[in-house]
């Protein structure tokens, strides 16, 4: 930077490249070329009718070798350029491709969605905020919003508290017991929501009372003399049955993160409170919980974001029938079943609005780190 300021009078073509404007323009050209080459190889692959194993092989080659070849090739080109142009270009070889992809796959579409949310079902005429009126007034949507709220409160509440409970309890066990317990509770994290839905459909399965139950829960219920429960059909409990699946999936995640926070609390702190006469519950709520509060907040935020976007479980289990709709599933159905991209876009924007505070918070903490 300083060198540039010392020699502003140099007016040749090449030195123009090193000015701020020139660099930005060049910064755009390099990734565009990169992208074009990548694109051509992809398009070529799309059009082949090759057997699956061959495509798999080509996929690996393009994925690993292809991307690297592009970077190496562009780097070779840049290294041939005269010194100052080269120095100006180099960083953009590294960040250019990433920024282009972010632009094409996140920034442009997000703005596009906001735009489309003000248009009708077929994106032909501007209809103002009618799609948002639908999102917040339509009776089916109100149920979806209510359910999302229920999901967020119950899943966040349960996963964080049960996760914390387990984290504190396993801390008292021997090392191998702790490892085994954590493994078992954490394992569902590896399972897809679709897989979990099948697992729990089998748990919830109900047969007529005259037949032996093969679903675990109804076997227990009828074993105690109860009637078989239709977990997914009974409107009083079906939402809770779905929410339980998400809790089952996410508790291990909360536990693992909270566990490392609990271990980070200094023993002296807890001991000092005890010497002052605090009982174990006071130590837990007044000392332990406040000192891991930042972690609790991070974990809660994470669970909030995951649950806000809940789709798979509802889509597979009920597809929103019998008052189990949630926003993300409704959005999917608006798009593919009802063909209403206005509604779908507005619902997507509702999800985006819900994470805005987190985006703001992230950016603010970034700025604090920088300064």
């Amino acid at each position: 930077m300083q060198q540039q300021l010392q020699q502003p009078e140099k007016g040749s073509f090449l030195s123009w490249f090193t000015t701020g404007v020139g660099r930005v323009i060049v910064a755009l050209i390099v990734p565009i070329i990169t992208f074009a080459i990548l694109w051509q190889s992809f398009v070529f692959m799309r059009d082949t009718e090759a057997p699956k194993l061959l495509i798999a092989l080509v996929a690996l080659v393009v994925g690993v070798v292809g991307v690297w070849a592009l970077y190496i090739g562009t780097n070779f080109f840049i290294e041939q350029l005269p010194g100052r142009v080269r120095d100006a270009l180099r960083p953009y070889l590294f960040v250019g491709p990433a920024m282009v992809i972010l632009g094409v796959f996140l920034i442009y579409p997000a703005i596009g969605t906001i735009y489309l949310s003000f248009f009708d079902a077929r994106s032909e005429s501007f209809i103002g905020v009618q799609n948002y009126a639908f999102a917040f007034v339509d009776s089916a949507m109100l149920i979806a919003l209510r359910n999302n709220l229920l999901w967020i409160i119950l899943v966040t509440g349960f996963t964080v508290s049960v996760g914390l409970l387990v984290a504190v309890l396993v801390d008292r066990l021997s090392q191998w017991e702790e490892a085994a317990a954590k493994s078992l509770i954490f394992m569902p994290m590896a399972i897809s929501a679709v897989g979990a839905s099948v697992i729990w459909s089998f748990m919830y399965f109900a047969k007529p009372i005259t037949q032996p139950q093969i679903g675990t829960l109804n076997a227990i219920i009828t074993g105690f003399g109860g009637e078989p429960v239709l977990f997914l059909l009974d409107k009083a409990i079906n939402n809770f049955a779905l929410i339980a699946i998400q809790i089952w999936l996410l508790t291990g995640f909360c536990m693992v993160i909270l566990s490392s926070a609990v271990k980070g609390v200094p023993d002296e702190l807890l001991e000092a409170a005890r010497i002052d006469g605090a009982n174990e519950f006071q130590v837990f709520f007044r000392i332990l919980v406040p000192s891991i509060m930042p972690t609790i907040l991070t974990v809660s935020t994470t669970v909030f974001i995951i649950v806000l976007k809940t789709f798979d479980i509802v889509y597979v289990m009920t597809n929103g029938r019998r008052d189990t709709e949630v926003v993300a599933n409704r959005m999917f159905n608006e798009l593919f079943r009802f063909g209403n991209s206005g509604h779908a876009s507005a619902l997507a924007v509702v999800l985006l609005l819900a994470v805005l505070p987190i985006i703001y918070w992230n950016l603010r903490s970034l700025r604090e780190q920088r300064s």
């Binding site: 991307v67 796959f105 017991e177 897989g195 508790t251 974001i305 985006i359």
Partner: protein, 302 residues
């Protein structure tokens, strides 16, 4: 489960546990803690275990008695369910498709993110802070927000229902987090090491490939596992961009189809579910350390 080692960890507190920790034990005695944990472990593993047992029973057995009855009645186990699901129900084809979708969807974003993370951490260039702020801004943007315009773009470019389309989509969705995480790691490489390499006359490119990448392997591995699981277990992106063509169906979508068409055929569903779970579970149990780290790091994905 194997017996504990001889050191008798059940009653002997490990050295790091001080009196402070032990006194909670006086209230919640070791055995009651152990009991509560045991109950929770039981609750958390029974559903998967029941499904696993059932997947090896024939249709008639599954439908007439609970899976727990295999413990007290003589049972014939069979792998026929798996054979049927892999061949007749298209799970074999879907399994291959999942691999084709997943591998590039992991490798491409990590490669691109690693390059960008290095530049953000160690190179000076105009726009650096702005670009990085954009990455942070995009961290938690729900991918739902991007689906409609990308879908239209894909329809225009004839990319809908192609592997290429879904690789690019997953690359875009995974990139902010990958860049952010790798930046966090790469920026902690000691300055002295980086400067020493530059003095030796290395260009940024060779510094990156010879130094930064090898040093970043733990972070790359953690993110790779996170992204792998995310892509492998994903349903939404696959449904949107691969469409309804069963030729390119992935395991999660294939299983969803089976739930729709074979909702009561538990011999098909149980085996099908296990086929979708087997690879992630192997990764989980064999690479648990990296897995945990990846999950912790990847917790903010949008």
């Amino acid at each position: 489960m194997s017996a504990p080692p001889q050191t008798g960890p059940i009653t002997v507190a490990s050295p790091s546990r001080t009196a402070a920790r032990r006194s909670l034990r006086d209230i919640l005695s070791a055995s009651s803690v152990r009991f509560v944990v045991l109950v929770l472990c039981f609750l958390w593993s029974v559903p998967t275990f029941g499904l696993f047992i059932s997947s090896f029973r024939n249709a008639q057995a599954i439908n007439n008695s609970g899976w727990w009855s295999t413990f007290y009645t003589s049972t014939e186990f069979t792998i026929q369910n798996y054979v049927t699901v892999l061949t007749a129900e298209g799970m074999g084809n879907a399994f291959l498709n999942s691999i084709i979708v997943t591998v590039p969807s992991v490798v491409i974003p990590i490669t691109i993110a690693a390059f960008a993370a290095y530049a953000f951490a160690w190179l000076e260039f105009p726009g650096r802070d702005l670009f990085f702020a954009i990455v942070v801004l995009l961290l938690v943007v729900p991918l739902h927000t991007t689906l409609v315009p990308i879908l239209r773009m894909y329809v225009g470019l004839d990319l809908n229902g192609t592997f290429l389309g879904i690789w690019l989509a997953h690359t875009g969705f995974g990139l902010p987090l990958a860049t952010y995480l790798l930046y966090g790691y790469i920026s902690t490489i000691p300055k002295e090491i980086m400067e020493a390499v530059v003095i030796d006359g290395a260009t940024p490119f060779t510094t990156f490939t010879r130094m930064v990448l090898p040093l970043s392997v733990p972070a790359i591995a953690s993110f790779a596992i996170f992204q792998f699981l995310w892509v492998w277990n994903d349903l939404l992106v696959a449904l949107v961009f691969l469409g309804t063509n069963s030729e390119v169906s992935v395991v999660t979508r294939q299983l969803t189809e089976l739930v729709g068409s074979k909702g009561q055929n538990w011999e098909v569903l149980t085996a099908g579910a296990f086929i979708t779970m087997i690879v992630p579970l192997i990764v989980f149990f064999s690479l648990q350390r990296y897995f945990v780290r990846g999950m912790m790091a990847g917790s903010v994905k949008g």
